[in-house]
Symmetry: C2
Subunit: 359 residues, 2 copies
């Protein structure tokens, strides 16, 4: 067992051919004679030869690696994106290089540069970079890029380079679901201003409310996606003059905070006031009452992003056109009042009872 790995020259020597021929066999060029091939494969086995990827990358100018740049590495959204990206990457025999930006535009820039020579393309989610800067960066990286939940000036960029959750549709559906149940004073706890998820969800809410009750019927309580903000919003609602009969929080964690505040003030959910969320985090199923919410298939989003990216890398223009964007779906549980408490809240009913409403 030598200290250093075998190289293609070792394989050539052992099998008595040139490195060119070894290379052909390794790359599946089927011009090589069967006998030669067998000899070579045997040598490969014997030497435990694995091609050096940097050398191959130099020669081919390809890395068979895609980069994933995320704003941060916390929580379920991140892991689901990665999981989906991995599915597509693995199917195409691509490796995955991971990076994140701490939500900082500077770091995002730096990460993109650092990745540039190590990948054949990248999936970037960088909500904090202003679109112009991002565009420049992408341009000068000269790499195929697919944007994930990230704004991009649409100046001639093919839509296939951007995938995103349809927050507007999800929020609208959910609001309409509340309206359909007879609620008519529906408040919205918003996410942080300037955040595109926030904006989309609020827009969907407003569209549904305005369509049903006319312009001016919206009730917005400012939040920021934190549990504390949801709690505060709950207290404000309890204390406020205009009592909503239902609350749509822009994410689940705020909904949970809100429910907590309502409970503490002696309100029953959903009997006195319905509360729904967005995201379908794992905890949504476990709280009491189980939370009605909107689920987005994040892994699928990641998978599609990766598939499109790889198609671009391969110059395979429309290989990924077959994949529809995943649509948000409503997950009906107890907190909206559509199900009785005993349903939906507990383990066994989980599958049979939860109602999913496809868009």
């Amino acid at each position: 067992m030598t200290k250093r790995h075998a190289t293609i020259r070792d394989v050539a020597r052992v099998s008595g051919v040139s490195v060119a021929t070894v290379s052909r066999v390794l790359n599946g060029l089927d011009v090589v004679a069967e006998a030669t091939r067998d000899k070579i494969l045997q040598a490969v086995e014997q030497l435990d030869y694995v091609p050096h990827s940097a050398a191959r990358a130099m020669a081919t100018r390809q890395t068979t690696t895609i980069g994933v740049l995320l704003p941060d590495l916390h929580g379920e959204f991140f892991s689901e994106v990665i999981r989906g990206v991995d599915i597509a990457a693995r199917a195409a025999h691509y490796h995955l290089l991971l990076s994140h930006s701490h939500g900082d535009p500077e770091e995002a820039m730096a990460a993109i540069r650092a990745m540039r020579s190590r990948v054949d393309g990248m999936i970037v989610m960088a909500p904090t970079i202003e679109p112009g800067g991002l565009m420049t960066l992408v341009r000068q990286s000269k790499l195929p890029v697919v944007l994930l939940n990230t704004d991009f000036p649409s100046s001639g960029v093919p839509s296939s380079t951007s995938v995103m959750v349809d927050n507007v549709a999800g929020a609208r559906m959910l609001t309409e679901h509340l309206i359909a149940q007879g609620y008519n004073r529906i408040a919205h706890i918003s996410g942080p201003p300037g955040n595109r998820e926030s904006q989309g969800r609020q827009s969907g809410y407003e569209a549904a409310i305005n369509a049903a009750f006319g312009v001016g019927s919206t009730m917005i309580v400012a939040g920021d996606f934190s549990e504390a903000a949801g709690f505060a919003a709950g207290r404000a609602i309890v204390a406020g003059a205009l009592r909503p009969d239902a609350v749509f929080a822009a994410n689940d964690i705020m909904a949970i905070g809100c429910i907590d505040a309502l409970h503490q003030a002696g309100f029953a959910v959903p009997a006195d006031i319905a509360v729904v969320g967005f995201d379908d985090i794992p905890a949504a199923r476990f709280i009491t009452p189980a939370l009605t919410t909107v689920r987005v298939h994040i892994a699928e989003l990641g998978r599609i992003a990766a598939k499109r990216l790889i198609a671009q890398v391969l110059g395979d223009g429309n290989a990924a056109d077959g994949d529809a964007m995943p649509q948000p779906e409503i997950v009906v549980r107890v907190s909206c009042g559509a199900l009785s408490t005993r349903q939906g809240a507990t383990y066994q009913q989980k599958n049979p009872v939860e109602g999913r409403v496809e868009l």
Copy 2:
């Protein structure tokens, strides 16, 4: 904007020096004259030059990348490991290559080979590879490796090459916590047999019970880490002859299933029977009653693994010796009976009231 990126030759040409000198500046060899340096840096800027990592890797035989091989990519454990690994990798300016094995030994082997030439070392978590095979693989990969929560024959391998959660200690502490509260018929819902997490947690439980009540006082209900198994165990307990006054489920999700079954049978938790878990998943805080459990700082585990790995890569023998392994800690909430229901269950008390008991 040419189609191809600038190379070191371009920089050399523009700044009127040799590529060797450019290389020196790029690598911080401070032998270069200030004026030369400035010229070069300016050219770098102007050309938006970024060194080609494959070329550099060829020349230096280093990739400044570490690989992370995980059994799968689901859930919080995974994302926390990655997050921790990333912290250490980033601090040392290493990139992260991610792979997983679908829990399949064959795939794990393949993944290790595929990674071999792309990384300077790897963190591998491959609980399904039998130790002998893993050892061979690691040996022939000739790469620094740190094992994460993975068995390894201890034949002369320095302990720094393996990091793992101390399940035994965590389970023991938790069981002792129940004992200290006066419970004396404490059952354990085990994880899947053969799983090392399972085994460790069960051992810790047994050690504590045997120490307190003498050998033969343990009560084990077989589980498999699933919510359904916890539910089934709860039903079995309800139906059984020997009623425990407390249940320690080997993970939170089984504890949740168990509580559900108890509730459905009309038992109050913790008044009639206490239930505790292990892992401190996010949902543990949100269920009713909020779950007493054991928290393991997974991200810290990942960080230490990466730090040790990088120290090995750098030949920096004891650089990581300063880092103690993270110890499990008990998170006391409502389900063990130590806190009143109003405490611990709700948002505001989250921080002030939850009792953490350091090991």
